[in-house]
Amino acid sequence: MRIGVLAVQGAFIEHEQQLASIANRFDEQIECIEIRQKTDLEDLDGIILPGGESTVQGKLLKNLELIDTLQAMILRGIPTLATCAGLILLAKTLENDSTKHLATLPVTVQRNAYGRQLGSFSVSSNVGEIESFPLIFIRAPYITEVSADTRILTVVDQHIVGVEYKNQIGLAFHPEMTNDTRIHEYFLQKVKDLANM
């Protein structure tokens, strides 16, 4: 399995480390490709959009001419895991903001929904079938609206912070910053299932 991790800015190495730590649980080899230019997008089986600053990542996606190809791949169904800034890149609409990035996930996202760094927090909650997962929120967004066919995975304090829509998983928190690998395993299983279909 070849997993592309968007590496234009942010905490992409943490995702790679997470994948490396569970690689032995899958019977095929897992290769991480750092996506920095168009040629890095060839022959991928899955995509991870990491945390970071969405304004920076969004701008670099355009400047480095990655955005159209990436968007087409996601719309064609490549399994995609997006965390924090990644969720903002995927969102179809942003609250009070006309900016659009990949716009492939039919949800509305509020950026910096918990305010500044002093509003950052961590809490434990279920994520879909995964029970009591440690959720780390850093200047995090949350989801204010979802389409009817989007599955809600996680709700914290009445705000939606995790969703799944077809091939896309969008999370407002950072599973890559914990020692808990269950979400990455779930994602890799999704990649594997699609490859075996």
């Binding site: 800015q9 670099l60 760094q117 002093l118």
Partner: protein
């Protein structure tokens, strides 16, 4: 600050990795920086080059000015307080700054003690010239480190020296046997558990950025190739001929720091770089502040 908060604060620095943090003095400059792709801005009244030119005592910026920048952009906003001036830090925490830079660029308020950063909820970044300084700051509660470089000069030589020194010291500790670590902790005047972390992980326990004297896309890529996880650009952008273009070029150079072809293209037609001054020409050596 409890352990969870410290992890969240280190985490914010991790989110800034691979990015460029730019010094700005007005909301307009902050907007230019954000549009150019800055991952955070440092709000200050005078950029280091002007602090040098003005002389005198340099202090924390007017909170009103900092707030106007917080309102202008959606990315994290940092601000500087003087070394050891914990009340300036309390003020910055009160206005909910995202990161405090306890900075040698300002005049030190205390020539012996740094701020006890464990007493704050808000995260701190501190400058360091070598591994000992870096680990002492981390022990005091810093959740991010940057090289000191020599701010406001446009001369990258000190930042290079500091980054090389830190990394060579890290490599040395990685290669030591466990029983040698106790003596190393003593030599560097740092707690044993931090030396042990470096020995086991081959890196600092927090994110390490380059700062001080970065003026061109090539300077930024140089620091990244030397092992920086991101770059602060102070005077280099708004003291140059075409700030927006130069800022965007530095952002892309940091992302693609190994791609010489792209950096060559990014370096074209940037207008005039800041003039800069050599270390032998300056009177105030900021890097020597706070050890």
């Amino acid at each position: 600050m409890d352990q969870t908060q410290y992890e969240l604060n280190k985490g914010l620095a991790q989110m800034l990795k691979g990015g460029v943090i730019m010094d700005v003095t007005t909301p307009e400059q902050a907007k230019i920086a954000e549009a150019a792709g800055a991952c955070a801005v440092m709000a200050l009244e005078r950029i280091p080059a002007d602090i040098r030119a003005a002389g005198g005592v340099s202090r924390m910026s007017d909170p009103k000015m900092i707030k106007s920048i917080q309102e202008a952009v959606s990315i994290p906003v940092m601000a500087k307080c003087r070394i050891g001036h914990f009340v300036e830090a309390q003020i910055l925490e009160a206005i909910e700054i995202d990161y405090i830079d306890e900075s040698e660029v300002l005049s030190p308020a205390d020539d012996i003690y740094h701020i006890d950063k464990t007493q704050f909820k808000v995260p701190f970044v501190c400058g360091a010239r070598d591994l000992g300084e870096a680990l002492r700051r981390i022990n005091e509660g810093a959740s991010m480190i940057r090289t000191k470089g020599e701010p406001g000069t446009g001369d990258v030589v000190q930042a290079v020296r500091h980054m090389r020194k830190m990394n060579s010291e890290i490599r040395k500790i990685t290669a030591m046997s466990k029983d040698e670590l106790y003596e190393e902790a003593k030599q560097l005047q740092v707690p044993f558990h931090l030396i042990q972390f470096v020995h086991e992980n081959g890196k600092l326990p927090v994110v390490n950025f380059a700062a001080g004297g970065v003026a061109t896309p090539a300077d930024a890529a140089l620091m990244m190739q030397l092992g920086a996880e991101g770059v602060f650009v102070g005077s280099g952008i708004f003291k140059s001929g075409d700030p927006a273009k130069r800022a965007a070029a530095i952002v892309q150079a940091v992302t693609n720091y190994k791609n010489a072809k792209l950096i060559a293209k990014l370096s074209e037609d940037l207008g005039e770089a800041m003039v800069g001054i050599n270390p032998s020409e300056i009177k105030i050596i900021m890097e020597e502040r706070g050890k």
